[in-house]
Symmetry: C2
Subunit: 362 residues, 2 copies
Amino acid sequence: MAPLMEKGGVYKVAVIGSGNWGSVATKIIASNTIKQSIFHDDVRMWVFEETLPTGEKLSETINKNHENCKYLPGIYLGSNVVADPDLENTVKGADMLVFVTPHSYIKGICKRLAGKIKPEAKAISLIKGMEVKKEGSCMISKLITEVLGINCCVLMGANIANEIAEEKLSEATIGYREDQEVANRWLQLFATPYFLISIVEDIEGVELCGTLKNVVALAAGLVDGLEMGHNTKAAIMRIGFKEMRAFSKLLFPSVKNSTFFESCGVADLIATCFGGRNRKVAEAFARNRGKRSFNDLEEGVLQGQKLQGVLTAQELFEVLIDRGWEDQFPFFITVSKICTMQLPPRSILQCSSVLNSTQLEF
Amino acid sequence: MAPLMEKGGVYKVAVIGSGNWGSVATKIIASNTIKQSIFHDDVRMWVFEETLPTGEKLSETINKNHENCKYLPGIYLGSNVVADPDLENTVKGADMLVFVTPHSYIKGICKRLAGKIKPEAKAISLIKGMEVKKEGSCMISKLITEVLGINCCVLMGANIANEIAEEKLSEATIGYREDQEVANRWLQLFATPYFLISIVEDIEGVELCGTLKNVVALAAGLVDGLEMGHNTKAAIMRIGFKEMRAFSKLLFPSVKNSTFFESCGVADLIATCFGGRNRKVAEAFARNRGKRSFNDLEEGVLQGQKLQGVLTAQELFEVLIDRGWEDQFPFFITVSKICTMQLPPRSILQCSSVLNSTQLEF
């Protein structure tokens, strides 16, 4: 496939983030911009600059080797990917902004970008998590829209990054609000023969699926560590899935049941509860009988990557207490308390009977 | 716990079947009949008589040791379980009939029992599968009702038998039609602190979940054998789950979406696609690149147990062709054709893109 050197294209794409998932997303996008005339070939990727043990800058090695040797070693990103350590320069003139940073950085990044992006630019968030505020929780897509004043979609799904990097068949879901045309443009940017995308008009449902499933994955990992077998794991996942739906619908009555049957729902739940790192650390936590903290285990198991589920469990806990919903969500409350070592790992097996007897119906 | 020797009880229970799942079900039931005064203590279990290598009869060893040494070794069934090789004697005077035989035997058994059971007896089926007839498919619960003229519920769920035998936490779903009181009585008979039951008024939905998930598990096993990873497996399971819903609702418009969120739905799908024997044999099939037939592999991997999924896939194929629905169910058709070696294992990866582009909506 020869690159179309002369092609200028209409839409210029910038990716904000260059971790594991950010690098994979950039690789996918770069393979599409070069093939489709509606996009500008070059994809600019913001790199939080690091100096590698060799003394080289991360952004420089990416531009030299077209590979992110730290967060996605061994994968060719595309010669049309330009790594840029300057955040403001990355988004300059960009029409499509892809946000894929750790969720604790997104607010600061948006504030730095305010007033410095094209007013008609569109955004998409690949970030899992919520901002918890006194006046209630706020989804990341909403935060981006509020701070930057632009439309923001989300992309979530059963997307373990390294498997997509190897071009193994995967699916994902784009959630949008009202503007389907914009959602279709994001679909064009992301869809490949090995990365199948569907779009649904339920941004909160899609985003909450992507966020909450990490909490269920912690519970699944606990069950693995307790060596309870397939039935128990499936039961705990089902109960967690039920609370995901119930919580999403309480928070946003517009959330659709059908969203939970999409890749962002049941499929992401499955992939994360069997393959993700939240599961992995929670399994280690249960095997240590809750005697080593998650923070401690994270360092050993994940080697520097942050664990999203523990953070989300705490955010969720605050929302549930703040709204007085704790009795309706015994599963979420139990996972949160296990993470903070207020309850032992085995208590995950008790919350299920509580839930079953209360017969929550949504 | 001392057995209540004098207790006569109202409802007499008979279990028709004594394989792996039948023996576990009998153990659960026997632990409940002895504790609850509405049930007669004794549970009579029909045993398809076999002579063991020792020369002893299977039924005799069960009655002597209170253990099914062939299909559930090492598990105490309860001293109130009576193994009986005589089918008609087993059901004599029984008020509650639990059917848990291989699905190919059920029709013959019902015909033998017709006219020989209490007219007011109630039945429950734990059997997965369909009867395919020229005039359309027939669920097992309906077959029991038609041949015996009695009410029949179903019990399905994420129930890998050996794990429940070890009293590991599990859930199940009872599906009923109209008569909730009967469903509640079955719940009383089956529910234990480690076996959590919910009831739903959607007998066809529950039964079809239990039946169709075995076909999805074959696909999941193929993906395992092809070493495609978590995302692909989750995607294939999701697509299969989608066709399960679509097919169930086409066949019975009364089927509810909510049923698929119960243990019989998403949880059974998960347990079966990760822990079941359909998955296991399909994985071996894909690793052999489809060069050894399922029949051949079954013998090696399962040592005499029959593989439900392959049978169901063929029944499903006949129904789909008969009704002209094959274009709407590319996943089911592909699995069927892989089972009969008309397509190679890898073709499971293609059917997903077809489905995605047709955007089936249910």
